[in-house]
């Protein structure tokens, strides 16, 4: 190649500083082209996230634009009632005393105004899209799931990184990561078939599928996530901390809980956040094990409906483009915003915590 350059210079025959190329033109083009192409393809991942943003949000606009108040003949509108209802034989429903006196109170309302109500009843003459029971259900299941998953996963991680012999660690770590490989349908199936009956025998409640069963099953899905990241955070703590603590006479257990655990706190926090995100968006387990009834109650043994389960259950049956369809997309947008924010917080805030922590140590 140097010969080619020298020949070029000689052929040019002048002393002007020519631009020297150390490669033939043919190679340079494919290099340039490859680099451009690779950059474009890499950019697609940003484009995909942007597209998801755009197209999921796009379908929610009709909810807010729709101010058509569907006027239905009030005489034909009968409010739904569930539960005990004594219908006297011989009397028609119309004459029962449960119908409010003023029929004009019952009117169909604007979809966006029902979003904050406590009724999720999208399929009725008077559709109400109250999101509150769905949020409540999601919250219930998430809290129950984290209450089980976080302690168990963190304790297991402490054992694996601090107390276990290296050979046992080699077995435990992959074994628990095996749980991560179970599809959520399988965990949901297990909860539906086995856990529901087992817990009903232990606790004796009425609804076989409820927030407790669903929450417990979701914790099974979150445990591997929290475990893996916590274990990584714990093993990342500098060995000098551990050695110093043991050197001062602390026991293994004291070192683990009073030195290593606080040092790995940002990582453990990130792990729990990630587990939280996983639980929040989990659909199949919710569909199969939570009972799918949009109830708002403090009792953990009552059926609930989560946000993602609502989308999963009802999307297949909505008319493309109508109000119900748009409200389901609205729920999806809220889920997306929430997980996006969770991820952003854990990325920037946690990173800063970790950097500050280790920068200040000499």
């Amino acid at each position: 190649m140097i010969h080619r350059v020298l020949k070029q210079k000689r052929a040019a025959g002048s002393n002007e500083p020519e631009k020297i190329s150390f490669a033939g033109k043919k190679f340079r083009f494919s290099d340039w082209f490859a680099e451009r192409l690779i950059k474009v393809v890499a950019f697609m991942s940003i484009a995909i996230v942007a597209l998801i943003f755009i197209f999921v949000f796009r379908e929610t606009f009709p909810v807010f634009r729709m101010d058509a108040v569907r006027t239905v003949e009030s005489a034909n509108l009968v409010p739904e009632r569930y539960g005990e209802e004594a219908v006297n034989p011989g009397n028609s429903i119309a004459s029962s005393t449960e119908i409010p006196a003023s029929r004009s109170d019952i009117k169909v309302s604007k979809p966006s105004s029902t979003l904050l109500s406590t009724d999720w009843m999208p399929v009725s003459d008077n559709p109400r899209y109250g999101l509150i029971p769905l949020f409540f259900g999601t919250l219930k299941v998430t809290i129950i799931a984290l209450l089980f998953a976080a302690p168990i996963a963190i304790l297991a991680a402490i054992y694996t990184s601090m107390f276990a012999k290296p050979r046992i660690r080699e077995i435990i770590k992959p074994a628990i990561e095996l749980l991560a490989g179970f599809p959520s349908v399988v965990i949901g199936f297990f909860a539906l078939m086995v856990l529901a009956t087992v817990f009903q025998d232990i606790f004796g409640y009425a609804s076989r599928l409820n927030a407790f069963v669903g929450g417990f099953a979701m914790s099974l899905a979150a445990i591997p996530v929290i475990y893996t990241i916590t274990e990584d955070a714990l093993t990342a703590v500098p060995k000098t901390y551990i050695e110093a603590s043991l050197g001062l006479g602390a026991s293994r257990r004291q070192t683990a809980f009073q030195v290593v655990l606080p040092a790995a706190a940002p990582g453990i926090f990130a792990a729990v956040i990630l587990g939280l995100g996983r639980i929040f968006g989990e659909t199949m387990i919710a569909l199969m094990a939570t009972g799918n009834a949009a109830l708002t109650s403090m009792n953990p043994f009552e059926s609930v409906r989560t946000l993602s389960a609502t989308i999963g259950a009802e999307m297949a049956e909505v008319v493309f483009g109508d109000t119900h369809y748009s409200v389901l997309f609205l729920i999806g947008s809220l889920l997306f915003i929430f997980t996006f924010a969770l991820n952003a917080i854990s990325e920037f805030y946690i990173k800063n915590l970790v950097i500050r922590k280790y920068q200040s140590k000499k």
């Binding site: 190679f27 290099d31 490859a34 680099e35 690779i38 393809v41 890499a42 950019f43 991942s45 940003i46 995909i48 597209l51 998801i52 197209f55 999921v56 796009r58 379908e59 168990i152 297991a156 054992y159 107390f163 276990a164 435990i172 628990i176 990561e177 095996l178 490989g181 179970f182 599809p183 349908v185 965990i187 949901g188 199936f189 539906l192 078939m193 086995v194 026991s251 293994r252 257990r253 004291q254 995100g277 929040f280 968006g281 989990e282 659909t283 199949m284 569909l287 199969m288 989308i311 999963g312 999307m315 297949a316 493309f320 997309f329 999806g332 889920l335 997306f336 997980t339 996006f340 990325e347």
Partner: protein
């Protein structure tokens, strides 16, 4: 309570947590095997379902899952590998572009799977599919509805981060000296990538592909309304047909089956098939990854 006793109690507590997790894993495996093994037979795997899903086999579900993951892999792996090459070879560590891409990949990794389903419905089916129908079919509904093509592409987006992370990890294990040697011999950057980096990270690409396939076969939420169906008389003949899937089959059968006594054994057997499938794929990937890490040491 003296310190030694406290130590023993608390250390045992952490050990019990580990045992608890392992106990749950074994229970799930044991119950699935106990319920499904008696019904698992070669016939079960190659027959079509009969009598309204109460008898017969799950052949179309297996074929559907296989086809879907095949299309998904063809779509996802080239993209994933290219992005991983960019992140490990071309990206300058502090550039805004590189940081944004990493953030985008991380975002894709944590987005709930059902959101991908919504995206598939709103973008692939609602935008691309319907416009394709307008342009090519004169308005006749063919692409603007759930089909195996859109479901596979939706899954490809879901599994993209998995591929990227695995491949990037494998590329990073190639020692800098090899790259420098190649450049010193006069090869260009692209030649180095093509002839040194890519062949060296083939195991990592394989690992990423296998993990993606395992994830794709197991996830149900994205295909709930982008292409999966329960009662299909025939195998999908074209990209615009719907398909049956193992995970979707388990879901529908266990929650909406009319005759639970008859379908229960089939449910367990199908779950066992799915579990064995994802299990073996994950096991292969773990072994491959172990080999990569050993090579790096």
């Amino acid at each position: 309570m003296n310190r030694n006793r406290k130590d023993i109690i608390i250390e045992s507590l952490t050990g019990i947590s580990v045992l608890l997790i392992i106990f749950i894993i074994i229970s799930i495996l044991a119950i699935t095997i106990k319920g499904g093994w008696p019904n698992l037979s070669w016939k079960f795997l190659v027959e079509f379902p009969k009598d309204g899903m109460t008898k017969g086999g799950i052949f179309p579900a297996i074929v559907g899952t296989a086809l879907m993951t095949l299309i998904m892999t063809i779509a996802a792996v080239p993209f994933g590998v290219t992005t991983a090459i960019y992140l490990s070879e071309y990206a300058k560590e502090n550039s805004v572009f590189a940081k944004t891409i990493r953030f985008a990949v991380k975002t894709l990794a944590v987005v709930p799977s059902i959101i991908f389903g919504l995206f598939g419905l709103g973008f692939f089916i609602g935008f691309i599919g319907q416009n394709m129908d307008k342009i090519f079919n004169g308005g006749v509904l063919k692409w603007g509805q759930p089909s195996i093509l859109w479901a596979s592409l939706t899954m490809a987006l879901l599994t993209l981060p998995v591929v990227i992370v695995s491949v990037e990890e494998a590329i990073r294990t190639i020692p800098v000296e090899m790259r420098e040697a190649s450049l010193a011999l006069g090869a260009t950057k692209w030649q180095t990538i093509r002839r040194v980096v890519l062949p060296g990270s083939l195991t990592g690409i394989l690992t990423g592909t296998i993990l993606a396939i395992s994830r794709g076969a197991g996830e149900v939420a994205p295909i709930l309304f982008t292409g999966a169906a329960y009662y299909l008389a025939d195998l999908p003949h074209s990209l615009s047909d719907q398909f049956m899937s193992l995970g979707y089959h388990i879901y529908i059968m266990s929650t909406q089956s009319a005759n639970v006594d008859a379908t229960l054994p089939i449910q367990f057997a199908t779950t066992l098939v799915l579990l064995l499938l994802t299990f073996s794929l994950n096991a292969i990937a773990v072994i491959l990854r172990y080999r990569i890490r050993k090579k790096a040491k």
